[in-house]
Protein backbone atom coordinates (compact mmCIF):
# COMPACT_ATOMS: atom_id res chain seq x y z
CA UNK A 1 0.00 0.00 0.00
CA UNK A 2 1.61 3.29 -1.11
CA UNK A 3 1.36 6.77 0.42
CA UNK A 4 -1.79 7.68 -1.50
CA UNK A 5 -3.63 4.58 -0.34
CA UNK A 6 -2.52 5.25 3.24
CA UNK A 7 -3.82 8.79 2.98
CA UNK A 8 -7.10 7.54 1.48
CA UNK A 9 -7.58 5.19 4.42
CA UNK A 10 -7.14 8.14 6.76
CA UNK A 11 -9.36 10.46 4.73
CA UNK A 12 -12.11 7.87 4.49
CA UNK A 13 -12.01 6.55 8.02
CA UNK A 14 -15.37 5.91 9.62
CA UNK A 15 -17.14 8.78 11.34
CA UNK A 16 -20.01 8.72 13.79
CA UNK A 17 -23.41 10.20 12.98
CA UNK A 18 -24.64 13.03 15.19
CA UNK A 19 -25.53 12.20 18.82
CA UNK A 20 -28.95 10.65 19.25
CA UNK A 21 -28.90 8.78 15.94
CA UNK A 22 -29.64 5.45 17.64
CA UNK A 23 -32.59 6.96 19.51
CA UNK A 24 -33.93 8.51 16.30
CA UNK A 25 -33.79 5.15 14.54
CA UNK A 26 -35.51 3.47 17.51
CA UNK A 27 -38.23 6.13 17.46
CA UNK A 28 -38.71 5.75 13.71
CA UNK A 29 -38.98 1.97 14.06
CA UNK A 30 -41.56 2.32 16.82
CA UNK A 31 -43.58 4.85 14.89
CA UNK A 32 -46.60 3.32 13.18
CA UNK A 33 -46.50 3.52 9.46
CA UNK A 34 -48.46 6.53 8.26
CA UNK A 35 -51.94 5.44 7.16
CA UNK A 36 -52.27 5.22 3.47
CA UNK A 37 -54.78 7.69 2.20
CA UNK A 38 -56.56 6.56 -0.89
CA UNK A 39 -55.76 9.31 -3.31
CA UNK A 40 -58.33 9.75 -6.07
CA UNK A 41 -56.73 10.44 -9.43
CA UNK A 42 -57.49 13.93 -10.65
CA UNK A 43 -58.94 12.66 -13.92
CA UNK A 44 -61.42 10.33 -12.20
CA UNK A 45 -64.22 12.89 -11.46
CA UNK A 46 -63.99 14.25 -15.00
CA UNK A 47 -64.09 10.74 -16.47
CA UNK A 48 -67.10 9.87 -14.29
CA UNK A 49 -68.92 13.04 -15.38
CA UNK A 50 -68.23 12.27 -19.04
CA UNK A 51 -69.49 8.69 -18.58
CA UNK A 52 -72.72 9.91 -16.89
CA UNK A 53 -73.32 12.50 -19.61
CA UNK A 54 -72.69 9.91 -22.32
CA UNK A 55 -75.08 7.37 -20.77
CA UNK A 56 -77.86 9.86 -20.00
CA UNK A 57 -77.29 11.58 -23.34
CA UNK A 58 -77.65 8.24 -25.09
CA UNK A 59 -80.87 7.49 -23.22
CA UNK A 60 -82.26 10.95 -24.02
CA UNK A 61 -81.30 10.53 -27.67
CA UNK A 62 -83.02 7.13 -27.82
CA UNK A 63 -86.12 8.66 -26.17
CA UNK A 64 -86.07 11.53 -28.64
CA UNK A 65 -85.76 9.08 -31.56
CA UNK A 66 -88.78 7.15 -30.19
CA UNK A 67 -90.87 10.35 -29.97
CA UNK A 68 -89.92 11.36 -33.53
CA UNK A 69 -90.77 7.88 -34.83
CA UNK A 70 -94.10 7.98 -33.02
CA UNK A 71 -94.91 11.41 -34.50
CA UNK A 72 -93.94 10.21 -37.99
CA UNK A 73 -96.18 7.15 -37.56
CA UNK A 74 -99.09 9.31 -36.38
CA UNK A 75 -98.56 11.65 -39.34
CA UNK A 76 -98.50 8.74 -41.76
CA UNK A 77 -101.69 7.36 -40.23
CA UNK A 78 -103.37 10.76 -40.49
CA UNK A 79 -102.34 11.05 -44.16
CA UNK A 80 -103.55 7.53 -44.83
CA UNK A 81 -106.86 8.21 -43.04
CA UNK A 82 -107.27 11.44 -45.00
CA UNK A 83 -106.62 9.64 -48.27
CA UNK A 84 -109.08 6.88 -47.37
CA UNK A 85 -111.74 9.46 -46.50
CA UNK A 86 -111.13 11.21 -49.78
CA UNK A 87 -111.48 7.95 -51.76
CA UNK A 88 -114.57 6.99 -49.78
CA UNK A 89 -116.24 10.32 -50.58
CA UNK A 90 -115.40 9.89 -54.29
CA UNK A 91 -116.93 6.41 -54.24
CA UNK A 92 -120.10 7.74 -52.58
CA UNK A 93 -120.42 10.55 -55.14
CA UNK A 94 -120.00 8.17 -58.09
CA UNK A 95 -122.91 6.05 -56.83
Amino acid sequence: MDWLEQELKQALRREDPSPGFEARVAAAVGRPASPRVAVMPRWLPAAAAIAIIAVSGGAAYRHHQGVVAKEQLMLAMRITAGSLNHIQSHVKESR
Partner: protein, 172 residues
Protein backbone atom coordinates in the same frame (compact mmCIF):
# COMPACT_ATOMS: atom_id res chain seq x y z
CA UNK B 1 -36.06 -40.74 21.54
CA UNK B 2 -34.44 -38.01 19.62
CA UNK B 3 -36.32 -34.80 19.78
CA UNK B 4 -36.06 -31.97 17.36
CA UNK B 5 -34.11 -29.08 18.69
CA UNK B 6 -35.22 -25.74 17.42
CA UNK B 7 -32.37 -23.28 17.32
CA UNK B 8 -33.60 -19.79 17.53
CA UNK B 9 -31.36 -17.04 16.25
CA UNK B 10 -32.43 -13.79 17.72
CA UNK B 11 -31.03 -10.80 15.93
CA UNK B 12 -30.80 -7.87 18.29
CA UNK B 13 -31.78 -4.89 16.16
CA UNK B 14 -30.67 -2.26 18.68
CA UNK B 15 -27.25 -3.92 18.93
CA UNK B 16 -26.92 -3.92 15.13
CA UNK B 17 -27.69 -0.19 14.99
CA UNK B 18 -25.21 0.52 17.78
CA UNK B 19 -22.47 -1.57 16.20
CA UNK B 20 -22.87 -0.55 12.56
CA UNK B 21 -24.15 3.03 12.66
CA UNK B 22 -20.73 4.52 11.91
CA UNK B 23 -20.18 2.09 9.00
CA UNK B 24 -23.54 2.83 7.39
CA UNK B 25 -23.40 6.56 8.05
CA UNK B 26 -19.82 6.88 6.76
CA UNK B 27 -20.49 4.92 3.55
CA UNK B 28 -23.27 7.35 2.83
CA UNK B 29 -21.47 10.46 4.09
CA UNK B 30 -18.29 9.88 2.09
CA UNK B 31 -20.42 9.18 -0.98
CA UNK B 32 -22.83 12.12 -0.64
CA UNK B 33 -20.51 14.63 1.07
CA UNK B 34 -23.56 15.87 3.01
CA UNK B 35 -23.96 14.99 6.70
CA UNK B 36 -27.71 15.64 6.97
CA UNK B 37 -28.58 13.65 3.86
CA UNK B 38 -26.21 10.87 4.94
CA UNK B 39 -28.02 10.59 8.28
CA UNK B 40 -31.36 10.40 6.48
CA UNK B 41 -30.03 7.65 4.24
CA UNK B 42 -28.51 5.77 7.18
CA UNK B 43 -31.83 5.94 9.02
CA UNK B 44 -33.65 4.60 5.93
CA UNK B 45 -31.14 1.75 5.73
CA UNK B 46 -31.74 0.72 9.35
CA UNK B 47 -35.52 1.00 8.95
CA UNK B 48 -35.25 -1.29 5.95
CA UNK B 49 -33.09 -3.67 8.00
CA UNK B 50 -35.78 -3.74 10.67
CA UNK B 51 -38.37 -4.74 8.06
CA UNK B 52 -36.10 -7.50 6.72
CA UNK B 53 -34.77 -8.72 10.05
CA UNK B 54 -36.18 -12.20 9.46
CA UNK B 55 -34.01 -12.55 6.33
CA UNK B 56 -30.76 -11.88 8.21
CA UNK B 57 -29.01 -15.18 8.84
CA UNK B 58 -25.88 -14.17 10.75
CA UNK B 59 -23.90 -11.15 11.93
CA UNK B 60 -21.71 -11.42 8.80
CA UNK B 61 -24.81 -11.44 6.64
CA UNK B 62 -26.03 -8.32 8.46
CA UNK B 63 -22.78 -6.50 7.60
CA UNK B 64 -23.00 -7.59 3.94
CA UNK B 65 -26.67 -6.58 3.78
CA UNK B 66 -26.07 -3.18 5.40
CA UNK B 67 -23.16 -2.32 3.08
CA UNK B 68 -25.13 -3.35 0.00
CA UNK B 69 -28.28 -1.44 0.97
CA UNK B 70 -26.30 1.62 2.16
CA UNK B 71 -24.59 1.74 -1.25
CA UNK B 72 -27.88 1.41 -3.14
CA UNK B 73 -29.68 4.01 -1.02
CA UNK B 74 -26.78 6.47 -1.28
CA UNK B 75 -26.73 6.15 -5.07
CA UNK B 76 -30.53 6.62 -5.13
CA UNK B 77 -30.19 9.71 -2.93
CA UNK B 78 -27.58 11.30 -5.16
CA UNK B 79 -29.79 10.65 -8.21
CA UNK B 80 -32.77 12.20 -6.46
CA UNK B 81 -30.69 15.20 -5.58
CA UNK B 82 -29.75 15.53 -9.25
CA UNK B 83 -26.66 17.51 -8.43
CA UNK B 84 -23.86 15.17 -9.32
CA UNK B 85 -21.05 15.85 -8.90
CA UNK B 86 -21.80 17.88 -5.81
CA UNK B 87 -18.26 19.17 -5.84
CA UNK B 88 -16.77 19.78 -9.24
CA UNK B 89 -13.05 19.41 -9.85
CA UNK B 90 -12.87 23.16 -10.37
CA UNK B 91 -14.41 23.81 -6.97
CA UNK B 92 -11.71 21.87 -5.15
CA UNK B 93 -9.71 24.79 -3.91
CA UNK B 94 -6.10 25.06 -4.86
CA UNK B 95 -4.25 25.25 -1.55
CA UNK B 96 -2.13 28.33 -1.02
CA UNK B 97 0.64 26.08 0.25
CA UNK B 98 1.59 22.50 -0.51
CA UNK B 99 -0.18 20.04 1.74
CA UNK B 100 2.16 17.44 3.12
CA UNK B 101 1.56 13.82 3.99
CA UNK B 102 -0.54 13.17 7.10
CA UNK B 103 -1.90 16.68 6.76
CA UNK B 104 -5.61 17.29 7.52
CA UNK B 105 -5.69 19.63 4.52
CA UNK B 106 -4.55 16.84 2.22
CA UNK B 107 -7.25 14.54 3.61
CA UNK B 108 -9.86 17.19 3.06
CA UNK B 109 -8.72 17.63 -0.54
CA UNK B 110 -8.83 13.85 -1.01
CA UNK B 111 -12.39 13.67 0.32
CA UNK B 112 -13.44 16.40 -2.07
CA UNK B 113 -11.70 14.76 -5.01
CA UNK B 114 -13.43 11.47 -4.23
CA UNK B 115 -16.77 13.31 -4.16
CA UNK B 116 -16.14 14.34 -7.78
CA UNK B 117 -15.78 10.77 -9.05
CA UNK B 118 -18.68 9.16 -10.92
CA UNK B 119 -21.10 7.08 -8.82
CA UNK B 120 -19.70 3.60 -9.38
CA UNK B 121 -15.97 4.33 -8.95
CA UNK B 122 -16.75 6.59 -5.98
CA UNK B 123 -18.57 3.82 -4.13
CA UNK B 124 -15.85 1.31 -5.07
CA UNK B 125 -13.15 3.60 -3.64
CA UNK B 126 -15.13 4.22 -0.44
CA UNK B 127 -15.72 0.51 0.12
CA UNK B 128 -12.06 -0.24 -0.55
CA UNK B 129 -10.53 2.43 1.68
CA UNK B 130 -13.20 3.03 4.30
CA UNK B 131 -14.20 -0.58 4.81
CA UNK B 132 -10.94 -2.23 3.70
CA UNK B 133 -13.00 -4.56 1.49
CA UNK B 134 -11.35 -6.83 -1.06
CA UNK B 135 -12.30 -6.34 -4.73
CA UNK B 136 -14.24 -9.63 -4.65
CA UNK B 137 -16.30 -8.40 -1.65
CA UNK B 138 -16.96 -5.06 -3.37
CA UNK B 139 -18.01 -6.90 -6.54
CA UNK B 140 -20.51 -8.98 -4.53
CA UNK B 141 -21.88 -5.95 -2.65
CA UNK B 142 -22.34 -3.85 -5.79
CA UNK B 143 -23.37 -6.67 -8.17
CA UNK B 144 -20.45 -5.74 -10.39
CA UNK B 145 -17.87 -7.90 -12.20
CA UNK B 146 -14.61 -8.08 -10.27
CA UNK B 147 -12.72 -6.84 -13.34
CA UNK B 148 -14.83 -3.67 -13.32
CA UNK B 149 -14.09 -3.13 -9.62
CA UNK B 150 -10.34 -3.46 -10.22
CA UNK B 151 -10.55 -1.16 -13.21
CA UNK B 152 -12.44 1.50 -11.19
CA UNK B 153 -9.82 1.28 -8.45
CA UNK B 154 -6.87 1.64 -10.82
CA UNK B 155 -8.38 4.49 -12.81
CA UNK B 156 -9.54 6.38 -9.73
CA UNK B 157 -6.14 6.06 -8.05
CA UNK B 158 -4.42 7.26 -11.22
CA UNK B 159 -6.83 10.20 -11.47
CA UNK B 160 -6.35 11.20 -7.83
CA UNK B 161 -2.57 10.88 -8.16
CA UNK B 162 -2.61 13.13 -11.21
CA UNK B 163 -4.82 15.74 -9.52
CA UNK B 164 -2.64 15.76 -6.42
CA UNK B 165 0.58 16.00 -8.40
CA UNK B 166 -0.91 19.01 -10.16
CA UNK B 167 -1.19 20.51 -6.67
CA UNK B 168 2.38 19.63 -5.91
CA UNK B 169 1.63 16.64 -3.70
CA UNK B 170 3.38 13.30 -4.17
CA UNK B 171 6.05 14.59 -6.55
CA UNK B 172 9.41 12.91 -6.32
Amino acid sequence: MIGLVQVETTIDFAALVREHQSMVFSLSYHFLHDRDLAEEVAQEVFLSLHRHLDDIKSPEHAVFWLRKVAAQRSIDATRRRKRRPQVSMEEVAEPSFRPSFQDPLLRDILKRLIATLAEAPRMVMIMRYQEDMEPSEIAAALDMPIGTVKSHLQRSLALLREKLQRRGVGEN
